[in-house]
C-alpha cells in the first residue's frame, strides 16, 4: 500500500522583487494511500513545480508538504521518480540501469532478481535486458525507465509526463502497462500530464490546474470501472468526463 501525501498552503515563486515569478499556489491537497492522482494542466501551469516539491527536490516558498504525517524537508528517498527525459545512462544496459537504482541505494541487485524479472515481463521488455538504451525505441526506453523507477518497491511514484515525448500509439500501450503495474501493488501515484484522456483513463482523482499562477482549480473524482480498457474508453461516461474537463479549460481560455 502506498504512502499518504498532504500539501498545506504550498506555494512556490522564483526570483525576488520585480523579476519574481509566482509559479504555483498557494494550494491544499490530500492524497490518500494508494490513490492515482493526475495533475492536469497546460504547459507552464506549475504542475511540474508541484511534483518536484512533492519529491522534496524543490523547497516550497510557503506552506508544507507532508508525507505519511512527516513534514518533507529534503529529497525523499522512499519514492520512484520519472521524467519526460528518462534517466537511463548510455554506459549501462537495460538491466544495468535497473540495477543502478539499487546500487545507488546500497542495495544488492542479487536480492531483487525475481522482482526485476517480473517488472521486465510486465512492461514487455523480455529479451532486451542486455541491450543498451540507445538501441531501443523511445517507447521501450520509457518502459525500461519504469522498471528503473519501480525496482526498489517505492510506496510513492512521481511521474513527470513520462509519456510526453512518445507517439500516440506507444503512449496508449504504455498507459495500459502503467495501469496494470499500479493495480497490482497500489502505490500512491502522482502523474503530471497535459493529456485529458490520459488523466481520465488512469486516475482515481484529477487535479485540474490552471496557469499563472498555477492553482488547483478543481479536484475531480473519476468514477469509472477498472481496468479502464478500450471498452471503458468508448463508454459514454468516459467521453462525458473528458468533455467536462475540456470545458473547464475552455472557460479559462486555455483551450
Amino acid at each position: 500500500m502506498g504512502a499518504s501525501i498532504a500539501i498545506r498552503g504550498v506555494a512556490k515563486s522564483f526570483g525576488t522583487g520585480k523579476s519574481r515569478v509566482d509559479a504555483f499556489g498557494p494550494a491544499d491537497l490530500d492524497i490518500a494511500p494508494g490513490e492515482f492522482v493526475a495533475l492536469l494542466g497546460p504547459s507552464g501551469c506549475g504542475k511540474s513545480t508541484l511534483l518536484l516539491m512533492l519529491a522534496g527536490l524543490l523547497e516550497p516558498s510557503q506552506g508544507e508538504v507532508i508525507a505519511d504525517g512527516r513534514q518533507i524537508t529534503g529529497p525523499r528517498t522512499d519514492i520512484g521518480i520519472m521524467f519526460q527525459d528518462n534517466t537511463l545512462v548510455p554506459w549501462r544496459s537495460v538491466r544495468g540501469n535497473i540495477d543502478l537504482q539499487l546500487e545507488l541505494r546500497s542495495l544488492d541487485p542479487r536480492g531483487y532478481e525475481a522482482r526485476i524479472k517480473d517488472l521486465i515481463r510486465t512492461v514487455h521488455l523480455d529479451g532486451f535486458e542486455n541491450r543498451a538504451p540507445y538501441e531501443l525505441s523511445g517507447g521501450m526506453q520509457q518502459r525500461a525507465a519504469f522498471c528503473q523507477a519501480l525496482v526498489h518497491e517505492p510506496q510513492t511514484l512521481l511521474l513527470d509526463e513520462p509519456l510526453g515525448k512518445l507517439d500516440a500509439m506507444t503512449r496508449e500501450a504504455i498507459r495500459r502497462d502503467l495501469q496494470s503495474l499500479w493495480m497490482r501493488s497500489k502505490p500512491t501515484v502522482v502523474l503530471v500530464t497535459h493529456s485529458i484522456e490520459e488523466a481520465v483513463q488512469l486516475s482515481t482523482r484529477i487535479c485540474v490546474i490552471t496557469p499563472r499562477p498555477g492553482r488547483i482549480e478543481k479536484v475531480i473524482e473519476v468514477d469509472l470501472p477498472w481496468p479502464r480498457d478500450l471498452e471503458v474508453r468508448k463508454s459514454a461516461a468516459f467521453v462525458a468526463e473528458v468533455a467536462a474537463i475540456h470545458d473547464i479549460f475552455r472557460r479559462f481560455g486555455v483551450l
Binding site: 527536490l57 528517498t77 521518480i81 534517466t87 543502478l100 546500487e103 545507488l104 541505494r105 540507445y134
Partner: protein, 273 residues
C-alpha cells in the same frame, strides 16, 4: 513482395557497388597523386632544389640521415608524451575540484581561463632562461599547452550532468562519492576526451616550438639547423616525422577513447559509418 523486387526498387545497392572500390583506394590514390603533382611541378617549373625539393629527394636524403632523425623524433616525442601525460593526470582532478568548490571557482577558474587565453609558447624563453637547454623546460611548455584545455573541458564535463539525472541521484539518497563513481564520472568522460584529444594535437606543437626557442637536439632543432644550412629536403623529412608523431599521439588517445567510452554517441556514429 519478392526479394528481386526489393533490389530493383532500391537504387542504393547499385550506388554502393559503383563506389565500393573507393573505400579502399580513394585515400592512398589521393596522397599518391598529391606527391606526383609535387614531384612533377618541381621539374616542370624548374623550381630550385634549395627552395622546394621534390619528394623523391626528401625521401632519399632523409633516408641517408635516418639515424639522427629517429633519435630526434624520440627526443621530441619523449617531451611531448611526458608533458601530455602529466597534464592528463593532473588536469582532471583540478577540473573536478574547481567544479565543486566555490572558492576555487572564483580563484583558480578565472586564472585557468586567463592562462588558456595566453599563448603558452610566450613563456618558453623564460623557462629556457631559468632552466637551461635540457628536457625540463620543454616538458613544462608541453604540459602548459596541454593542461588548460583539459582543465576547462573537465569543468564543462563535470558541470553538465542533466537535471533529470541529478534529481534521480538525489532521490536515491546516494552520497556524493557513490553518485560520482556511478554516474558523474562516466557521464563526464566524453567531454574529458574532447580535452584530451585537443591536448594531444597540441603537444607536439608545443615541443617543437620550445625546441626552436632553445635546444641542441630534437626535431625542432633539426628543422632549424637544416633550414639554416639551406637543406629544405632534410627539414621536410623531419616535418614528416613530426606529422607522424602527432598522428600517433592523437591515434593513441582516440584508441583509448574507443575502448573506454564505446557507448558514447561519437563512437556509435563512427562504428556505423
Amino acid at each position: 513482395m519478392s526479394d528481386g523486387a526489393v533490389v530493383k526498387s532500391d537504387p542504393a545497392p547499385a550506388t554502393r557497388g559503383r563506389f565500393a572500390w573507393s573505400k579502399k583506394w580513394l585515400m592512398p590514390l589521393f596522397f599518391l597523386g598529391l606527391f606526383l603533382f609535387w614531384e612533377s611541378s618541381v621539374f616542370v617549373f624548374s623550381i630550385p632544389r634549395y627552395i622546394l625539393p621534390p619528394p623523391s629527394q626528401i625521401i632519399a636524403r632523409g633516408w641517408a640521415d635516418i639515424p639522427l632523425i629517429l633519435t630526434d623524433t624520440f627526443i621530441t616525442g619523449g617531451e611531448a608524451v611526458i608533458g601530455f601525460a602529466i597534464a592528463m593526470m593532473l588536469a582532471v582532478p583540478l577540473g573536478l575540484a574547481i567544479t565543486f568548490s566555490y572558492v576555487l571557482r572564483h580563484t583558480l577558474y578565472p586564472l585557468c581561463v586567463s592562462l588558456e587565453m595566453t599563448p603558452k609558447i610566450a613563456f618558453a624563453p623564460l623557462f629556457i632562461a631559468w632552466l637551461g637547454f635540457g628536457l625540463l623546460p620543454k616538458v613544462i611548455i608541453v604540459f602548459l599547452v596541454c593542461f588548460f584545455p583539459i582543465v576547462l573541458n573537465s569543468i564543462l564535463a563535470f558541470g553538465s550532468l542533466s537535471e533529470e539525472l541529478t534529481r534521480f541521484c538525489r532521490s536515491t539518497g546516494a552520497g556524493p562519492w557513490r553518485t560520482f563513481i556511478k554516474v558523474r564520472l562516466p557521464a563526464a568522460l566524453p567531454q574529458i576526451f574532447v580535452g584530451y584529444k585537443y591536448a594531444a594535437i597540441n603537444a607536439t606543437v608545443g615541443a617543437t616550438i620550445a625546441e626552436f626557442i632553445g635546444s641542441d637536439q630534437g626535431l625542432g632543432f633539426y628543422i632549424q639547423i637544416s633550414s639554416g644550412n639551406q637543406r629544405p629536403d632534410l627539414a621536410f623529412a623531419a616535418i614528416f616525422f613530426l606529422t607522424a608523431l602527432g598522428l600517433a599521439m592523437f591515434g593513441a588517445v582516440t584508441l583509448i577513447e574507443k575502448l573506454v567510452i564505446p557507448w558514447d554517441i561519437s563512437q556509435r556514429r563512427r562504428s556505423k559509418a
